[in-house]
């Protein structure tokens, strides 16, 4: 009887060991929930393609360890995001969740991932909610914190000498963060602030208010199709030449420039990354992306690529362990030991970036393409405003 029991225990031990060795060879599952449809579908497409480029560079691995990347479209709807993240976590065994574009989806997806003990790395949406008091040890914002994009735009507007501004954003968390960020750094007067609907297509009413308010400049946060619609209508209303725009990168990316054409020329905007950045990592990324997909990468692609590279650096450090060695993986992420395509990069105590913001201006190049040209440093080593509220060390 005793022998039998020992035998059973030994068998159990061996089978556990067997499972463990099998697990170490199995790929790490990364769940990517992103926005691939609606007018903002190209945002998620950029993140996905940038991320997958990094995976392809290593032949299906990150940091030397095989990964299995699952990609699903949330359609910019929080309900979809919740369903997908639950499936990824419970059925697919995802250990890392990433990809969320919009800040109406992330407040649903991030807590679900964190509660399940998974790591949450955001390549885009980083609402103030998770940067301050509610920061979490497994939550990492790789791209930026929402507000900072607009803090930089506010600083840039000061630099350009504007004394008052009309500001506008969709009525959701990222929109509020955006306008709060702009106001935090802009020294001039806010003529009016307007909240529109998320996904709104016609901006006639808002354009009429801008005309009536006669501000020196306009700052808006309308990413994706919203920005394209607004800019086309703004130009058609004859305002593009009268009241200049000072924007953040989200409102003036490659696709928006391509779609609105000449009326984008001369628009000033701020960004943490640009196509023309002259560092080795970026040159390799831009060339690789162009070769793999036959088009120039957007900011979103750069953010997706950076996220994958960060994961790769951490996987390399822990020998391919994520949930099996959460402390090690976390410390490795925090070290940010990778070459970001944006240049200098470090995590603040709240695990949001410290990086530079640059000014850009839209120009038409010799081939008739619209490009953002980097024209100078706007805000060096920019930190978000919430890090002090975060208890993480």
């Amino acid at each position: 009887m005793k022998n039998l029991r020992i035998g059973a225990a030994a068998g159990l031990l061996m089978s556990t060991l067997g499972v463990n060795t099998a697990l170490a060879e199995e790929p790490i599952t990364i769940g990517m929930i992103t926005t691939l449809s609606t007018g903002a579908g190209y945002l998620g497409e950029g993140v996905r393609d940038g991320f997958m480029l990094a995976v392809q560079e290593e032949g299906g691995k990150l940091g030397g360890h095989p990964v299995n990347v699952l990609v699903e479209d949330d359609g910019r709807k929080p309900g979809n995001g919740k369903q997908i993240v639950d499936r990824f976590l419970e059925r697919e065994g995802a250990e890392i969740i990433t990809g969320v574009i919009f800040s109406n989806v992330s407040p649903v997806v991030a807590p679900a991932a964190l509660k399940a003990g998974a790591f949450y790395l955001t390549p885009n949406s980083a609402p103030s909610t998770f940067a301050g008091k509610k920061c979490h040890e497994n939550y990492f914002a790789v791209a930026w914190q929402n507000d900072t994009l607009f803090e930089a735009a506010g600083t840039y507007a000061n630099d350009l000498g504007y004394k008052n501004a009309f500001i506008m954003a969709p009525n959701y968390q990222a929109g509020k963060d955006a306008l709060a960020g702009f106001k935090r750094y802009f020294d001039g007067e806010i003529v009016d602030e307007v909240y529109t609907q998320l996904g709104q297509t016609d901006y006639a009413a808002e354009i009429a208010r801008i005309r009536d308010a006669k501000p020196e400049m306009v700052n808006h946060f309308l990413p994706g199709g919203m920005g394209i619609n607004f800019l086309k209508q703004y130009a058609a209303a004859g305002l593009a030449d009268e009241i200049p725009l000072v924007l953040s990168q989200a409102s003036m990316d490659l696709r928006i420039m391509g779609a609105v054409g000449d009326s984008a020329v001369g628009v000033r905007n701020t960004a943490h990354w640009n196509l023309d950045f002259d560092n080795e990592a970026n040159k390799a990324f831009v060339a690789g992306f162009q070769e793999a997909y036959g088009r120039a990468p957007t900011t979103y692609a750069a953010q997706g690529y950076d996220t994958a590279k960060l994961i790769a650096s951490a996987l390399a450090a822990t020998g391919g362990k994520v949930k099996d060695d959460p402390d090690g993986f976390r410390a490795a992420l925090k070290a940010a030991n990778f070459d970001s395509v944006r240049g200098e990069f470090a995590f603040n105590t709240n695990q949001h970036p410290i990086h530079n913001y640059y000014g850009r201006v839209v120009e038409k190049d010799a081939d008739g393409n619209f490009v953002n040209k980097t024209v100078g440093l706007v805000s060096p080593n920019h930190k978000d405003a919430y890090a002090e509220e975060c208890k993480l060390k």
Partner: protein, 307 residues
């Protein structure tokens, strides 16, 4: 003052645009007794066909014609293949079946055109803006939309009140069994009417294509607004749809324009913007509720004995 003029024009434009879509819906619902949730899909078909046709031919005019034809044919097929089987069924079956059509159409358009939105270029001749009163530049294209809508309304008015076809439509709305008993091919009439409504939705889709991004699912949000319009106007009434559409357009536009300023009288600016943003998006529903309190069948109820 300039702001008021510009916002009123904006409201008119939204109004006539809603009218184009609502006409088909109200006729189909009022006369055939079918709730057609897929009407927004016909609008989407029009927008996609216009964007595609404009890109293929290089001319917005041909794109527009192509869009109207495509939407009419889509409507024709929809009626013959699906809607025809629903006339005798209850509303729940109709809602289920036409909701299925929405999902099907969205998926089909995704397969054909992909998930990325299309952008139709505005015809160069209409791209600029004109000074309609001193100090107010208004986009020519938006004026053209208003004009198109008014012309379409005029044509509809003429057809319905002055022609034999219109007489049959009016008779059908009141008592379709009687019309059938008098020897009119009611089945053919329904098919043509459906295609006619679809063509108007397609026209609306085509007209809007240069203004906004043409994307899958663009019809659904509009459909809700359109139902608000026909409920306010009275189901089955084209006149009601016209008045209802203008009311909804103006309420939405003026609400979005002036509510924030109104709110600032009571609240600090940041909160005022947030509250006004939320409130103005539900303003039209408040309007609908208000109208229904006094006129439960809408502003211009149709006396219907057919169903």
């Amino acid at each position: 003052m300039l702001l008021l003029i510009e916002q009123t024009l904006g409201g008119l434009q939204l109004g006539v645009f809603l009218f184009l879509v609502a006409t088909g819906l109200t006729l189909i619902f009022g006369i055939m007794g079918v709730i057609n949730l897929a009407h927004g899909s016909l609008y989407m078909v029009g927008a996609f066909a216009a964007a595609f046709g404009t890109q293929a031919t290089g001319s917005f005019f041909w794109g527009l014609l192509f869009a109207v034809a495509a939407a009419a044919i889509a409507g024709l097929l929809l009626e013959v293949l699906i809607i025809r089987r629903l006339y005798e069924r209850n509303h729940l079956d109709q809602v289920l079946a036409t909701f299925g059509v929405i999902l099907f159409t969205n998926e089909l358009v995704t397969i054909v055109f992909g998930r990325q939105p299309l952008f139709a270029d505005m015809p160069a001749a209409l791209a600029g803006s004109v000074e309609i009163v001193p100090g107010l530049q208004y986009p020519v294209y938006r004026l053209v939309i208003i004009l198109t809508g008014i012309i379409a309304a005029g044509i509809l008015y003429y057809v319905i009140s002055r022609t034999r076809a219109g007489m049959l439509i009016r008779a059908g709305a009141t008592n379709r069994e009687m019309v059938a008993a008098l020897g009119v091919d009611i089945s053919l009439m329904f098919t043509l009417l459906f295609a006619f409504g679809a063509a108007f939705a397609g026209l609306a889709g085509a007209m809007t294509a240069p203004l906004v991004s043409v994307e899958v699912g663009m019809g659904e949000h509009l459909l809700i607004l359109t139902f608000v319009v026909i409920v306010i106007g009275g189901i089955g009434s084209v006149k009601g749809a016209f008045i209802g559409a203008l009311l909804v357009g103006l309420t939405d536009s003026l609400g979005r324009a002036f509510l924030p300023d109104l709110m600032k009288l009571f609240l600090p600016p940041a909160e005022a913007s947030t509250v006004a943003g939320g409130l103005s998006s539900m303003f039209i529903y408040l309007l609908m509720a208000f109208v229904l309190i006094f006129k439960p069948s809408g502003l211009f109820p149709v006396q219907s004995g057919g169903h």
